[in-house]
């Protein structure tokens, strides 16, 4: 009887181990997310709205290379040039005081006479207001 009881508990303990044994790590939510995330409220994205605006209206003068004016607003370098010096071109705290916006929208223009209409300035202001993300 004693041997039976001992055997029972030995088997029960070993059995519990072998039946329910695994080797895992707690995962609270592994995921991949975009390097340049947009929030749900971003209606103006840099890559799809601002870059094309720059290409149409700005890169004629603001390009990389001899004769180009600063900052270059070409596709690959526009964002880094605009954000390299914090506050120089973009002020997310007071978006409508951002030099990027003021320089192309003020009247009389300080932009060599090139004052742009709201079809250009509004998206840029909207983009700065949404945080000027590289999205």
């Amino acid at each position: 009887m004693r041997k039976l009881i001992t055997l029972f508990f030995a088997v029960a303990l070993c059995g519990t181990f072998f039946i329910s044994c695994e080797k895992k790590t707690i995962d609270l939510g592994s995921t991949d997310k975009p390097y340049n995330p947009s929030t749900a409220g971003d209606s103006v994205r840099f890559s799809t709205v601002i870059i094309p605006l720059f290409a149409t209206n700005c890169t004629g003068c603001h390009y990389t290379g001899t004769g180009g004016r600063n900052p270059s607003l070409e596709s690959g370098v526009a964002y880094s040039n605009l954000t390299a010096t914090p506050g120089l071109y973009i002020n997310v705290s007071v978006p409508n005081s951002s030099y990027l916006y003021v320089h192309i929208s003020e009247n009389p223009s300080s932009h060599g006479g090139n004052q742009f209409g709201t079809d250009v300035t509004n998206p840029i202001l909207q983009w700065i207001t949404q945080g000027a993300r590289n999205n």
Binding site: C21, E22, I26
Partner: protein, 323 residues
């Protein structure tokens, strides 16, 4: 004549009784003594330890058949706040209570519940070899094992939760010897296994060289402990006066694989205790570095370092035995 016969009769009876008694006792004494001595020698050594617990480790002691044992273990907070929480006495404590029953002299089973991580522990301890008084068996060999369920909330275990994530196991082989009434020594090797261990968030940015705007941040979780740990421990009891003893203990867990950058190697435990024992009670008060109480929690996850004052904490164990 009748008186002579009568006297002779009485003398004969008495002398017969005397001689027979003498003859009988002379013949029986050696046999009884030898048998008694042999029987005495086969018995297990008495009270090699005061309790089934040393400080944090198990001892080789199993109470006699039919005994019920209640153990209350209390660990105060560590000494990091000094006098501000009275050296841990008023800080957050950890507690375990357990009840065990000796089915036979060599087998004990029990259940315990712990506070910090809500461990529900089912355990058994069996004696494979028992040191006897004659010395023909010089050591005790005892096997202790538990299966523990952590009853924390489901969200603690992250994605893909399954109930077996809660399980952890511990097995301990204890070799012990009582050298004399004043000194007992034990050493053990043990194995701990956790089905699921804690992790920390790690993020890696994977740049897309063709279009940086398509780059991603890969968020994943790396373990901070290993699931399997091998351990060793040693303990001693020095009985200096009647039921009073000093206890010493050292425990260490070892990773079975090389630790990664995120993994926290288990830190060892050093404990020193004062023990008072009676036939039915044992009270131990001590300073040590293990807070977890449950052996696999200590062996795998202890981060209290005995080389710093913040790594120490006071505690006590109370054992009550109902025979």
């Amino acid at each position: 004549m009748n008186k002579k016969i009568y006297a002779l009769f009485i003398f004969s009876v008495l002398s017969t009784a005397l001689f027979s008694q003498t003859a009988d006792s002379t013949a029986s004494q050696p046999i009884d003594t030898i048998a008694q001595q042999k029987a005495e020698g086969k018995k297990a050594v008495q009270d090699p330890w005061g309790s089934t617990m040393l400080i944090d480790a198990q001892t080789s002691l199993i109470p006699s058949k039919g005994s019920v044992e209640l153990v209350i273990q209390h660990r105060f907070s560590n000494l990091s706040n000094n006098i501000h929480d009275l050296f841990g006495l008023y800080g957050a404590s950890n507690i375990r209570m357990s009840l065990s029953y000796s089915i036979i002299d060599r087998l004990m089973i029990g259940f315990g519940t712990e506070k910090d991580n809500k461990y529900q522990e089912f355990f058994a301890k069996g004696k494979l070899l028992e040191q006897n008084r004659s010395g023909s068996i010089p050591l005790s060999l005892t096997l202790f094992g538990n299966a523990t369920i952590c009853a924390r909330e489901t969200s603690y275990y992250g994605k893909d939760f399954k109930n077996i994530d809660r399980f952890s196991y511990f097995a301990d082989l204890i070799i012990a010897r009582k050298f004399c009434k004043a000194f007992s020594l034990e050493a053990s090797v043990n194995y701990s296994h956790y089905n699921k261990v804690e992790s920390k968030e790690v993020s890696d940015t994977v740049i897309n060289p063709d279009d940086p705007f398509l780059s991603i941040i890969h968020i994943h979780y790396n373990p901070i402990y290993q699931n399997d740990v091998l351990g060793a421990s040693a303990g001693a009891r020095i009985n200096f006066y009647k039921g009073m003893s000093f206890l010493l203990e050292y425990d260490q867990g070892f990773y079975m694989k090389k630790a990664t950058a995120e993994e926290l190697k288990p830190k060892p435990n050093f404990g020193i205790a004062y023990e008072i024992t009676t036939s039915t009670h044992c009270f131990q008060i001590f300073a040590s570095n293990y807070r977890g109480i449950i052996p696999q929690q200590n062996s795998v996850k202890n981060q209290f370092d005995f080389t710093t004052s913040k790594g120490w904490m006071l505690g006590f164990n109370i054992t009550v035995r109902f025979n």
